[in-house]
């Protein structure tokens, strides 16, 4: 198991290195001129050239990439457009000339919102997806199954910006059942934190749970036909306990994998959800960075999202190996 884990972590690091290179290439080799973008529309050619020098863009590409990687590992000094030098602590993802702030700091401001949103939405997704999938599988072919399957199909087909507005209208503006979505740091007021995020959690979790619920159902139905499940029943184990102990275990692999992907994706920022509910998370930050041609911020956000996806996919793989001795022990 240990060597399996080490191998998987090395793979993850290799993927991250590749993503960082690709993101970097997008920045500096892309069609947009980062110096002009940083300097702003009112700069003349001379000013842009000065900015280019201060940003180090006149250096060879490899040197720039090395600088960038060094910054991530050890931090580095960066020059702002006005010529002042600032230290950017590790992990330094570059410097936003639009915000006059290191990208890491800016991201750190927005990350708690996204993490809060993602964690709650994942909890809703798992509870709702597993629950409906499990019940539908146990009652497969019955009216309950068809009803639940239809309900999850609604989730799969409806868009967040539609459901989000409808839910806000129905639960907040009309009835006042829930407070207006907002972010309060959990350390300040945990109740306000949960209350303010409840609606976004439910909407984002529900919309994303459809695939999870359907996979849960089909995985369980497939595993129910496994011979070891029949053996468990033949031992005298009850139906429910058999499904909880054996069927679930057999069905878990693909579900854990999907959950890893979902977690990575949600933590990378939920642009539409954040926009609909007016939450200022990483998704909104990335969107504004793109609109403002703030390339260092875009690259930073891309790298952060990639890190989350790679991390959670690797964690899911480890969890699957831990669950299944055939993978763990080869």
């Amino acid at each position: 198991m240990l060597s399996f884990a080490l191998r998987r972590i090395l793979q993850a690091l290799a993927v991250l290195a590749a993503v960082s290179a690709a993101a970097f290439a997008l920045f500096y080799a892309g069609p947009a001129d980062p110096a002009r973008a940083a300097c702003g529309p009112r700069c003349d050619t001379g000013q842009v050239a000065a900015v280019r020098t201060s940003m180090g863009l006149d250096q060879p590409l490899l040197a720039q990439y090395t600088d960038y990687l060094t910054g991530i590992v050890a931090g580095r000094d960066v020059q702002d457009v006005d010529g002042s030098t600032r230290h950017c602590d590790a992990p330094c993802l570059g410097y936003s000339y639009r915000l006059h702030q290191p990208v890491t700091e800016a991201l750190a401001d927005h990350l708690p919102v996204t993490v809060s949103l993602a964690a709650g939405a994942l909890a809703v997704l798992v509870l709702f997806g597993l629950g409906t999938g499990f019940v539908a599988a146990l009652r497969h072919g019955t009216r309950t199954d068809k009803l639940l399957s239809g309900f999850t199909l609604v989730g799969a087909s409806v868009q967040i910006y539609f459901l989000g507005y409808v839910a806000q209208w129905g639960l907040v503006y009309t009835t006042g059942l829930l407070p207006l979505p907002s972010y309060t740091p959990p350390a300040t007021d945990p109740v306000a934190w949960a209350g303010g995020l409840l609606l976004p959690w439910i909407v984002l979790g529900f919309v994303n749970s459809a695939v999870f619920a359907r996979l849960t159902r089909s995985q369980l139905l497939e595993t129910m036909n496994e011979e070891y499940v029949r053996t468990a029943r033949g031992k005298g184990l009850g139906r429910l306990r058999t499904h909880l102990k054996y069927t679930s275990r057999g069905a878990a692999g693909p579900l854990v994998q999907l959950l890893g992907l979902e977690a990575g994706a949600l933590l990378g920022g939920a642009v539409i959800t954040e926009t609909v509910f007016g939450l200022n998370g990483v998704g909104r930050f990335a969107l504004e960075a793109v609109e403002g041609q703030d390339l260092p911020a875009v690259v930073g956000a891309v790298l952060l999202a990639a890190c989350f996806v790679v991390l959670f996919v690797a964690l899911a793989d480890l969890a699957v190996a831990w669950l299944d001795p055939r993978i763990r022990l080869g």
Partner: protein, 584 residues
């Protein structure tokens, strides 16, 4: 595994006479099991009006071909059928207690406690997620709620020790054991609570002959030690012959005949039983002669054994400088090994798996070479190289005098026409979405110059050649039985008029009587068309009956390669002797 019926131990039949006085521990009356058709069609009756008694300590064989209802009967005793799709009527009494219609709480106490199950494939029947001792301990605790974890573990370890699993391995997972060891674990688990009745559903069918014998012996020993009554469900009369006191033959869900096993095998009353007994090949059949089948219980005898291809192909006398169709020299096939641990520089590549090593084979035109070995011996890999489906790591393959190790386009085309394949699984090897006509048309279109009309006529001819009416051309595979599908597979192989047919376990997945029919067909076609065969099989009786020469493989190497008669009369190596002993 096909011992002669006469080998059934006589003392078992006598024992049975004494037991008759005792009340039956399991009493089945007028049992019917009916499955609803999932697509809403007419329900299918798997068992119809079955009655039998199982005395305490008795071993009863439940024998039948696929679809005879033998497995459905076993599951009905435990109430394991899905009540939403299955209707069970009649009566099943376990020591007087009615089980049909009994509630879940009653059935749960019976399952694993008083009636235990052993299934065919222990790899899929044991949980892959739990150590074997934990699975046995769970079995104990489910029926001894007061027992602690430690006691259950201790009992599990003791039981595993009894079936020959070393103490150091009791925490291992099922996939870490060999097939025979796994089945021992399964049996140990079934006997954990000292049940009254053990239902063993094809307990040794998935095992190699040698291991099969060992597991059956163990089952017999434990059965006598514990005094357990056993319902042994099997399609294999050989297994039943050496193991059971009494045998009940089922066909289409109905009982055909029931008698003490020795009597049943020596003097079957019903014609179906006679055909079953006759169709089961033994090591004293006359090679190459037509086998009795259910439809034709006594085929026109051919007294002389087939002696070789010269018998079939006129004007090809065996000579020292004879021409070979296929010559394999020093063949090796290695698969890359699984990496364990980190791929650090200096650690090198993991050791390859040597599936085939130093194998040399020859097949003359029109000759049938049998390739024999247990699972994992490399026989299928060798045949895949000859079929061009697997690249050789080393060695040479010559076809008709030409080097075919790395064939060019033209040679590959020629091989694709002249070397054809027949597969084991008649269900998986036909495309379910193509009609028989479409399936047969493809090789004709690729390898002959016939136009569409001619191809259809040829397809009809091929179908008739394998004993199916030409009117079935437009049917789909699912409309045929297993034996009929295998005939279609053979017709497909014959379509481009091949010189060599590679048949990998072509009759292993078929019922005994169907097996005889398909073997008869293959023998007849061989005589008529003079085609050479590479016949891969684990079944020595079938190989002996069908093949001219036999090559034995063991752990990737060729152990022995000689004439059929010489091999079976005087095997050279210990390994071959062991194989033969297990088949007797």
């Amino acid at each position: 595994m096909n011992p002669s019926p006469a080998a059934a131990p006589g003392h078992r039949a006598e024992q049975h006479a004494d037991q008759h006085a005792e009340p039956a521990v399991l009493s089945v009356r007028d049992l019917s099991v009916t499955f609803a058709d999932p697509r809403g069609g007419a329900p299918v009756a798997a068992v119809r009006g079955l009655s039998f008694d199982l005395a305490r300590g008795e071993v009863l064989g439940l024998v039948g071909e696929s679809g005879s209802g033998k497995s459905a009967t076993g599951l009905a005793v435990l109430g394991l059928h899905d009540p939403r799709t299955t209707t069970v009527t009649g009566s099943i009494r376990l020591a007087g207690q009615e089980l049909v219609g009994a509630g879940e709480p009653v059935l749960r106490r019976v399952r694993g406690g008083r009636v235990a199950l052993v299934f065919q494939d222990a790899l899929t029947s044991l949980s892959p997620f739990h150590g074997v001792d934990a699975q046995l301990a769970e079995m104990y605790r489910l029926h001894h709620p007061d027992a602690g974890r430690a006691e259950a573990r201790r009992r599990a370890a003791a039981m595993l020790d009894r079936v020959g699993i070393p103490a150091a391995r009791v925490r291992d997972y099922p996939h870490q054991f060999s097939g025979g060891m796994r089945q021992r674990v399964m049996i140990a688990m079934a006997l954990m609570n000292d049940p009254d009745v053990l239902i063993a559903d094809e307990p040794t069918t998935a095992l190699d002959a040698r291991v099969q014998r060992q597991v059956l012996d163990l089952l017999g020993e434990l059965q006598r030690e514990h005094g357990t009554a056993v319902l042994l469900v099997s399609h294999d009369l050989g297994v039943v012959a050496g193991t059971t006191d009494r045998t009940l033959v089922l066909r289409g869900g109905r009982p055909v005949e029931s008698a003490p096993t020795a009597t049943l095998l020596a003097a079957p009353r019903e014609s179906y039983t006679r055909a079953l007994v006759g169709a089961a090949l033994t090591l004293d059949s006359v090679p190459g002669t037509p086998l009795p089948t259910v439809d034709d219980p006594s085929p026109a005898p051919r007294t002389a054994a087939r002696t070789g291809p010269s018998d079939a192909v006129a004007g090809a006398p065996p000579a020292p400088d004879r021409h070979w169709l296929v010559e394999v020299e020093d063949l090796a096939v290695h698969f890359p090994g699984r990496r364990r641990g980190l791929a650090l520089p200096g650690r090198g590549r993991p050791a390859p798996v040597r599936a085939v090593e130093g194998v040399s084979l020859r097949i003359a035109p029109g000759e049938t070479l049998g390739l024999v070995g247990e699972s994992g011996s490399g026989k299928s890999t060798t045949s895949r190289v000859l079929a061009g489906l697997q690249a050789a790591t080393a060695g040479t393959v010559r076809y008709d005098g030409v080097d075919a190790t790395a064939p060019d386009r033209a040679l590959r085309r020629r091989l694709a026409k002249e070397v054809q394949l027949v597969f084991q699984d008649p269900y998986a090897s036909l495309n379910p979405r193509r009609t028989v006509a479409q399936t047969l048309d493809t090789p004709l279109r690729l390898h002959t110059a016939l136009d569409a009309g001619q191809r259809r006529a040829r397809s009809a001819e091929l179908l008739e050649q394998v004993g199916l009416p030409a009117a079935h051309l437009d049917r789909y595979p699912h409309e045929f039985s297993g034996g009929q599908r295998q005939r279609i597979g053979i017709a497909r192989a014959l379509a481009p008029e091949p010189r060599l047919i590679i048949a990998d376990e072509p009759v292993s997945a078929l019922d005994v009587s169907v097996q005889a029919q398909v073997l008869n067909l293959l023998m007849e076609l061989r005589e008529r068309l003079g085609v050479a065969f590479l016949f891969v099989s684990h079944d020595l009786a079938v190989v002996r009956h069908f093949c001219d020469r036999v090559a034995v493989m063991h752990r990737g190497r060729l152990v022995e390669s000689t004439d059929r008669d010489r091999l079976f009369a005087a095997p050279h190596t210990d390994y071959t002797r062991e194989l033969l002993a297990a088949a007797h």
